[in-house]
Symmetry: C2
Subunit: 167 residues, 2 copies
Amino acid sequence: MSDITIREASASDWPQIWTILEPVFRAGETYSYAQNITSDQARQAWMELPAKTFVCAKADGELIGTYYLKANQPGQGNHVCNCGYVVSSAARGLGAAATMCNHSQEVDLALGFRSMQFNLVVSTNEGAVRLWQRLGFTIVGTLPAAFKHPTRGYVDAFVMFKQLSPA
Amino acid sequence: MSDITIREASASDWPQIWTILEPVFRAGETYSYAQNITSDQARQAWMELPAKTFVCAKADGELIGTYYLKANQPGQGNHVCNCGYVVSSAARGLGAAATMCNHSQEVDLALGFRSMQFNLVVSTNEGAVRLWQRLGFTIVGTLPAAFKHPTRGYVDAFVMFKQLSPA
């Protein structure tokens, strides 16, 4: 996607970011946030708790995606980064998720992280699993029945991992 | 350990709990907390953020162990519980960890959790790995070099999981 830019989010981006996140969180099929999460709770989880939050914007300024970045653990695990990415429903399939994931890996390395971990990739989210694998992530663990899918019931989730710099 | 009791922690237990936790967090060999964590930060992480915190007391009232219990994820992953257990150095090898782990599984089931996940069991903490395996936990994932051990460098960590009720 050559006509999109990724930049750090500012507080004034929140209404547009929430427009992207809300349908995904309400659907509850891919991310483990409370389906009835409020805008304020989501803003705290997506904008305040993470180390950084980015947005993906089209040339006309419209936001089509967002991701957060944070250490997955404090202390002796804080060289492993964790990110979460959401693309607006209108922009699915255009490569924004891959663009954001590649961007996040560059940011991670610049910040001194050595690897990246996704803690809960829902096994039924097959497009995402394939995308992360294509971008170099490996399924390093399977969490049995760890996600309660709203229509498919208890389904497995994957832990996915990518080494960014040699251990 | 027939002469010990497990009860919910109260705020006034914190100084004794911190006496148990502090050397473990400072050593930084088994848990991923900042080694320079303050008492206040540790109290928040151990007593306030979790759903419940328990202490393990000898007959004379001395505390020899503590554990916390919380949902490992919000939303669609909130049927999976996460716990952390620490035993005082003076009481190691007496079975307090196993007693607390078994206790936590009963509490989890009573609270409606279906399974339990440990997110970061340090691979060099071999006694703990063996204990959790003996208590029915399985290594479901290996996180490569995910823990920076203070003397052994980057070592693997395990994700361990136990189903408490049929999925």
